[in-house]
Amino acid sequence: MSAFLTSTFMHNVFGGLAQGVVYALVALSLVIIWQSTHILNFAQGAMAMFATYVGMTEIEHGLGYWWCVIISVAVGMCLGGVTERVLIRPLYGKPEINPIVVMVGFLGVIEALAAAIWTSTTRNIPEPFSQIFYHANGNLVYLSPFIVFQIILALGIMLGVAALFRFTRLGLQLRASAMAPEVSRLLGIRVSRMLTFGWILSAGVGCVAGVIQASGSFGLFPTNMDGIFVAGFIAAAVGGLESPIGAVAGGLLIGLAEQFILSYWSPNVAPLGGIIILVVALMIRPQGLFTRAAGRRV
């Protein structure tokens, strides 16, 4: 058993899962926004990064780790809500290029602002759990207490979001306003408020990914979510943008693919994993692997 745990194969499985859950969270947050407003938030990663900075630099003022996490997520959610009200609201019904361009601009502003306020040198967030790998019979197992925590936290968030959509009134209203805004409005759902809430929820989920990423060994710097966003975005597209389950599956798939390519080929070509999976997935089903076949939106 221990020989199996320390094998290169399992090493890659664990490494891929650890990275994959972060991708999956970002993908999930993108899907939530896409479902409610049909906008792809290019600044999702950067917004999470910014919120993480606001919360996590409080550690330097002596605040405990978990308080900082709460502050980060709260700031992230506020940022999401304000963004929807100020930047996105004027763009509903405009050509699809418009919101993409605006969010790309927002991405640039946030990253530059973060660098202006906190400099672009990497900050290390003291992680809540040890990052030292477990050993089995003197061999490394590619799992540390932190990675275990990261996987459990991410899965917990995903289940929470699923529960919210399935079992709560709020979730029902969210789904209703996304699917049939006119009918929902007639039924007395405040659709506009639901759209904002979708952004708040999405930013919160994205922010958890940001906190995990910054707490890991890579640390926090203004562009630390760029690569994560690209992978998360690809994951969401593989899953079909409409499906939360698809986003999560896509995230894990890409995390694993990158890790295996990195291990068996070269670290340099790991980003190819995402593009290969995306091309194959889109060739099979242009609307994503997990979306119900539907009339194409023109």
């Binding site: 605006v102 530059a112 660098a115 597209a237 091309v279």
Partner: protein, 359 residues
């Protein structure tokens, strides 16, 4: 004068050639009076303007979004770089054409799986492509030179041109002006072909594909072929621009083509004006003189350029410009002149011509 006006009103290949040739010549004359450093900046701007024009065509005319044009630029730059590195004596025209063709092929490869995709999926695929280009270039060291890249001889001034200059810094001034002139001429040719494309049947069909693909299909347009060809043309332009850029730089390295370059290109294209020739020109000019723009804003706001804020002023300015432009002037800087032109036209009581094609 009246005759000339009527003549210019009839859009034809010839008039467009004339207009582009005149503008090119005018720019060439300007390079004579520009200081050498401004000439070097202008050369880089011309290369970038070509890439922006391709992107402008793709987004503005075919309605497809690409965030991968830095990747196509890299493909063209490496095609030119690898060739020029091994064949230093090849005429420039051949190297540039080679890069254009290779760029077009790479565009086709990306376009084939993309034609069935719209909006965000397409943006995602092209983004993934741009993200993958740098690692690929870094990995295949034997061809690309890896992280260190490839180095070429910098563009030499031909003897006859050099002899026009005298004085202490003759050679330097001549070289700066020669490279600027070269870039401007290449850009002029590229702009001429694009202006024709805008007015061709393909251009009109592309607009229809963008605005109403069902109608286009009814009229016999093969949608996926139209979209792929739009992609291919945009990639060819990116390839040409990238090749010109790398030849001006006399080097090609993976780090020259980061994802952020795609975003910069998009920003410049939107700032100038989507789907127009003059928008691409404006974008290229903004690119050339962005360092001056940044230091101007720093001095205007009294921000110390070496402070943290000053160091990141460029990102803030460009990001804000992009947001403000898209929210308030979605058709770019070029559209600011449109109301004026409309006014002029109304006075003459003539039906408005095709706006987007105005040069």
């Amino acid at each position: 004068m009246q005759k000339l006006r009527t003549f210019l009103a009839q859009e034809s290949t010839r008039t467009r050639l004339l207009a582009v040739a005149l503008l090119t010549l005018l720019t060439l004359v300007v390079t004579i009076v520009l200081p050498p450093v401004a000439n070097s900046d202008l050369a880089g701007g011309a290369a970038i303007a070509i890439v922006i024009l391709g992107l402008s065509w793709l987004i503005g005319w075919s309605g497809q979004i690409s965030l991968g044009n830095s990747g196509f630029m890299a493909v063209g730059a490496y095609a030119a770089g690898v060739w020029a590195h091994h064949h230093a004596t090849t005429p420039l025209v051949f190297t540039l054409l080679l890069a254009t063709v290779v760029g077009a092929i790479s565009g086709l490869i990306i376009a084939v799986p993309s034609t069935r995709l719209r909006g965000p999926y397409l943006a995602g695929l092209t983004l993934a492509f741009a993200a993958a280009v740098t690692p690929i270039a870094q990995n295949f060291t034997s061809i690309t030179g890896g992280e260190g890249g490839l180095f070429m001889n910098s563009l030499a001034t031909p003897g006859w041109f050099g002899r026009l200059f005298h004085g202490a810094n003759a050679a330097i001034n001549a070289n700066a002006q020669w490279t600027a002139d070269l870039a401007v001429v290449v850009a002029g040719v590229a702009f001429f072909f694009m202006s024709n494309l805008f007015h061709s049947r393909t251009g009109r069909a592309m607009r229809l594909v963008r605005d109403n693909d069902v109608a286009a299909e009814l009229m016999g347009v093969n949608l996926s072929r139209a979209r792929s060809s739009a992609f291919m043309i945009a990639a060819a332009y990116a390839g040409l621009g990238g090749a010109l850029y790398s030849l001006l730089e006399a080097s090609v390295r993976p780090e020259t083509f980061p994802l952020t370059l795609s975003i910069t290109l998009l920003t410049l294209m939107v700032l100038g004006g989507i789907g127009t020739l003059s928008g691409a020109v404006i974008g290229g000019i903004i690119y050339s003189f962005s360092p001056d723009l940044v230091s101007w804003v720093n001095s205007l706001t009294g921000v110390n350029p070496t402070s943290n804020l000053g160091a990141n002023m460029q990102g803030i300015i460009f990001g804000l410009l992009l947001i403000v432009t898209m929210l308030f002037v979605p058709r770019g800087l070029v559209s600011i002149t449109v109301p004026l032109r409309k006014l002029a036209r109304q006075r003459k009581r003539r039906p408005p011509a095709v706006e987007a094609a105005s040069l």
